[in-house]
Symmetry: C2
Subunit: 413 residues, 2 copies
Amino acid sequence: MSEVTEKVRFAKAASRAFGLLDSTQKNRLLSVLADTLIEDTQVILDANQIDLNAMVGLLSDALLDRLRLNEKRIQDMAIGVRQIIELPDPVGEILERIDRPNGLEILKKRVPLGVLAIIYESRPNVTIDAAALCLKSGNAVVLRGGKEALHTNLALIKTIHDSFRKCGLDPDTVQFIQDPDRGLARELMRSNGYVDALIPRGSARLIQSVIENATLPVIETGTGNCHIYVEKSADLNMAEAILLNAKTSRPGVCNAAEKCLVDASIAHEFLLQVMPKLRAKNVELRGDEAVRTIDPSVILANEIDWQTEYLDLILGIKIVSGFDEALKHIQTYSTQHSEAIVTSDTALADRFMNEVDAAAVYVNASTRFTDGFEFGFGAEIGISTQKLHARGPMGLKELTTYKYLVYGNGQIR
Amino acid sequence: MSEVTEKVRFAKAASRAFGLLDSTQKNRLLSVLADTLIEDTQVILDANQIDLNAMVGLLSDALLDRLRLNEKRIQDMAIGVRQIIELPDPVGEILERIDRPNGLEILKKRVPLGVLAIIYESRPNVTIDAAALCLKSGNAVVLRGGKEALHTNLALIKTIHDSFRKCGLDPDTVQFIQDPDRGLARELMRSNGYVDALIPRGSARLIQSVIENATLPVIETGTGNCHIYVEKSADLNMAEAILLNAKTSRPGVCNAAEKCLVDASIAHEFLLQVMPKLRAKNVELRGDEAVRTIDPSVILANEIDWQTEYLDLILGIKIVSGFDEALKHIQTYSTQHSEAIVTSDTALADRFMNEVDAAAVYVNASTRFTDGFEFGFGAEIGISTQKLHARGPMGLKELTTYKYLVYGNGQIR
């Protein structure tokens, strides 16, 4: 029996009792986990140092930084776990009550999904963060982290398992697949009957591989080729602030803007106002021919540019004749994550909100707000860019399903 | 460009305008469709006769009957479409309103999924039924029916397209893949970026093939290895009525009972009461050794029996020591569709409702009620046996998703 075969079975078996725990019991476990993380700080940092030593020279500084833990980052993990304790428990909510003419009483009740699988890459904080969200929502979880973070993850998993034991709960509820063999990741993606849903968290390549190979129900997360459309009636100072924020506040995340569309009638004024400020923030500008007539030093954008989520300090700029061309461009290239219009025309704002097909559509605000915390969910396991089950930021509710409880007194059909 | 590549593009393009129609426009289309079906009756029957003639001797009588249309069946299709007109339109509902401290106003609004694909088998009524449900919920749809029903389906699709034209709407909203090549079905299952969700309707083999091959988000439907557990405190006459109904009222459907578990202390009395009545309805009985000590003429059930959804007049019977053994058996063999307990012990009823993991759990009623009409949804596109997105009977709401509309006045993060 492979590591995956064995561990998904353990997780499924443990999920039954775990899913029946009440909020107090789950919160006590999370509280013990937060304390144990702090107690185990040195052990976790020692394990992290082994991973860092092995990767020096192999990973870029940026990736090494993602992998690196320190006292502050472990404290932040514990703070994150404590924040999850404060969130309302979604499990048990009665979503609907249906009384049928034949006397059947049907309750639609929110329940945990059961067993979740999370496949992720180098950031070890995901191990704690994802586990805590799954546990609060009553789910068992099978984690598969990146091999660069193996020692760190094993230390974190030991902290989690110790916390279960301190609470008299079954540590099998959280499983970690440690063998780096890719065949095992593929096996996990196909463990129907044991795992109820799979959430990949990481690069576009990881997510694509999961979509290609999984037979499990998957929630696709993360790709955001987000547009800011500056319509001709826009307040140009507002548009400038939104564009700068959406592009530069954190360029490596999925809700950052990658493209700016601007109406021809205001393009000259707006671009001459905003381009120097983008350049001052080290943003590389790529534009169509029309943009280059305004500023020939802009790099010519090609078809690939319009399709690309740069995740970097690069902005594609296109001048459009008006709303319809902007809409068509967005419909063609959007990854259906977050799209924004800056306008003072309420009729066009309404059209944008209705006609653009994305998880979040904005009028006069930065796309950077597509985020579980910013939406007020208190936490986030990822941002769904598909339409089944959950769309946009996913919090605790999105880690649950429902069942129908049907109460009769002998009804037959 | 293959037939699939072309048609999914047409469907996606048409879906944009179609998704913006209001309820009146969609209902008018459905009303015209119901009328046109009746007008086209003879053309549809002629096409159906071609399919029937080609299949005589190749299909069993039962399958030929599934394929066969007559005036009454076409009238029933039209009645079904008119019933869908009467249902409330789920699109546009505001599911949540979030006011953020920074002044952002976020509306969570129900919207169509976009483009649905349905892969189904021989019953041609699915063509009208599935199309009408998708259209009422604002979706474009790509249909792929069984090759035995090709001429019938093409006639029905012509009726649908004519109805669109009569209403001045875009017939590209409904596409039908007619080339029987299996490669095209596989291509449809992998048309990410054009199709938003795929619902297979048909045999376990079809559904398994979709799960294996699809990269699209799929809603798994239909397999039901449903149990009736007769607990020792049960009213035995109620248990008899429920078991007979669940097994024999329509043995070929997914919510029919396939297994009966009965507590040892009442097994003798209950089985001697119920087995003659099951046999009188031509039910073949297969039981464990304990059942055979009560009636040696019962066929010995094996491991395969406990796993099998017979969809036939066969019942597997197992005697259990009590609730815990029954629960364990159900946890091991359930397909998570519908499970029932007959009991007068409310504490055990509660345990069953909480601990059995299925789309619908019943106390003292027949599993046959797991059905969109019986649940009061007014229609049904299938019964989901997965946990993501929708679980149990799926009506119009389950053919929608949501988007977040975020209204700002210059907010940046």
